[in-house]
Symmetry: C2
Subunit: 283 residues, 2 copies
Amino acid sequence: MNILVTLNSAYLRPVLVMLKSMFMNSQGEMFSIYLMHSSLKQQEIDEINDFVTKHGHILHVITVDDECFKEAPVVMHYSREMYYRLLAYKFLPKEVGKILYLDPDILVINNLHRLYDTDISDYLFAASYHRRMLSKEFNKVRLNAYDMQEYYNSGVLLMNVDRQRSEMDERKIFDFIARYKNRLVLPDQDVLNSLYSDSIRELNEVQFNLDTRFYRYNKLISNGGIDMDYIFHNTCILHFCGKRKPWHKNYMGVFHSLYKYYEKQANDFVASFTRQAPVFANA
Amino acid sequence: MNILVTLNSAYLRPVLVMLKSMFMNSQGEMFSIYLMHSSLKQQEIDEINDFVTKHGHILHVITVDDECFKEAPVVMHYSREMYYRLLAYKFLPKEVGKILYLDPDILVINNLHRLYDTDISDYLFAASYHRRMLSKEFNKVRLNAYDMQEYYNSGVLLMNVDRQRSEMDERKIFDFIARYKNRLVLPDQDVLNSLYSDSIRELNEVQFNLDTRFYRYNKLISNGGIDMDYIFHNTCILHFCGKRKPWHKNYMGVFHSLYKYYEKQANDFVASFTRQAPVFANA
C-alpha cells in the first residue's frame, strides 16, 4: 500500500503517531511510505526512516525544491507543504500508480484496505466532504466556481496518480492560485474543489475521514447510531480538523485519551531504539 | 504476579477488557489470575479461561459457596461478590502469599510492577484513598469509627495474604456488618476502613487508582501538571468509579475513547478464537 505524507519539522511527532496508529491497525500489511518535504533536517529524516523500517516498512524520501511553489500563498496555520499533495504526481516515481495521501493530524483506527481498494480508475481523486464545515453555495460564490459539486476535505486523498499524470496541469493550478490569492481560505482544498470536484469520487466521511469535532453532532443526527461502538468498528480514519490539535497542552476533545495512547506507543517505540528518553509534545 | 478478580455474569465483558489492558501493558510479565465467583456458568468460565490461557497466562477458578456470605447485605448496584475480596485469604491456596485485587471497572495503562512491588510486609493491605469522595469526618461518625485514618477505596487492593491469614477474623467482619447493616453505603469499603484502616499502606491515588471522574479536577488543582501526558506516563490504573460505566450506551467521559479501544482489542481477541462475531456491549 502506497502512503504519501508531506511535512515540515513542526509535524514530525504527529506524523509518527499517525504512522504508528496505521501500523498497529493494519497487521500483515506492507507499506511504502513516500515522504515529500523541503525543509527537514537529515536527523529528522533519519528518525522517520528508523521508525518506518524498524516496523518492517519502506520509506522513500522526496526532497522538493521550494522554487516550484514560490507563487503559492501561505495562509494562517497552513504551511506550504499542503500544496505538495496536489502536485505529488510530478514527483512520485513512475511505478506509483495509486497512492493514499494522509494528513499528519490523523489516527488510523481500522485497516485501510477498504479505503485503498476503492475503485478510482475513472477519477483523479477520492475524498470525503464535511457537510457542516463550509456551505457549498458560499464557496461556489467565493471561488466563482459554479460547477463545483461539493466541498471536499483534502486531508484524506486517494489518488489515481497514473491518470493525474496525463490529465492534470500545474499551470492551471498556479493560474488559479494567482487569480484567487486573496480569497483562498483553505488553499489546497480550494484548488481541489474548484478545479477537480467533478473528478473526485466521494468517500463516506464517517468511515474514512471523520471530523472529530463533530462526534456529538454525528451521534445526535444519527439518533445515537454513530456512537463510539459504531466508530471503533466502522471508522478507518479519525481526523483532528481545525486549529486545536490533540497534541496541544490544553486540548479537550472526545478522542484526546485515544490520541495520547497512540502518541505514547509512538514515543515508546522511538525510545526503544534511540535508547534515550522520548521527546514528549508537552515536555 | 498474582491477580484476584471476583465477578458475576454482568461483569464478564468488563473483566476481559480489564485483563486485556493489563496484558497489553505488562509485556513479558507472567500472571496467575485467581477468579472468585459463585454464579458463573461453565461456558462463561471457559471463555475467561480461554482468554487468559491464549494470552499465555494461568487462570485458577475458586467457586464460593454463597452460604458464607448470606448475612452480608446487597446494597444498590453492588453485588455480593464485593465481599469476596475481604475474605479471599480464606479461599486462596497456601502458596499465595501476596495478591493484587482489581475491580472490573478498571483499565491498566502501565506496568503494574511498581504497584505490586510495594512493600506491605507490615500491613494487611495497600490501597488509595479518594479524598474528594466522602468526607473522612462524615464517615467516622456514620461508622462510629473514631480511630479511622482515611477512607480508602477498595477497588485496587494489594493484599498481604500471609498476614491476613494469621490476623484477620471473619467473625469480626460479620459482626460489623450485622451491627451497621442500615448505615452501610459502600459495604466492602466500610468494612475495610472501619476495621482495618490502621493496617493499610497508602498507595498514591493518581498513580495507582485514578478516579476517572476527577480528571479535570485533578488537572485544575495541580495547575495543569496532572494532564493526559502525566497520566499516560505515570498512572498504572484508571478506575471508572461511580454508577456511569464506560461500557454503557450513553457514557461520556474523558477516557471513553480509550476504554472503547481496549474493549475492541478484547472483543477482537475473543472473536479470533471463537470464530464468531464478538458480543459488543451495545449490540
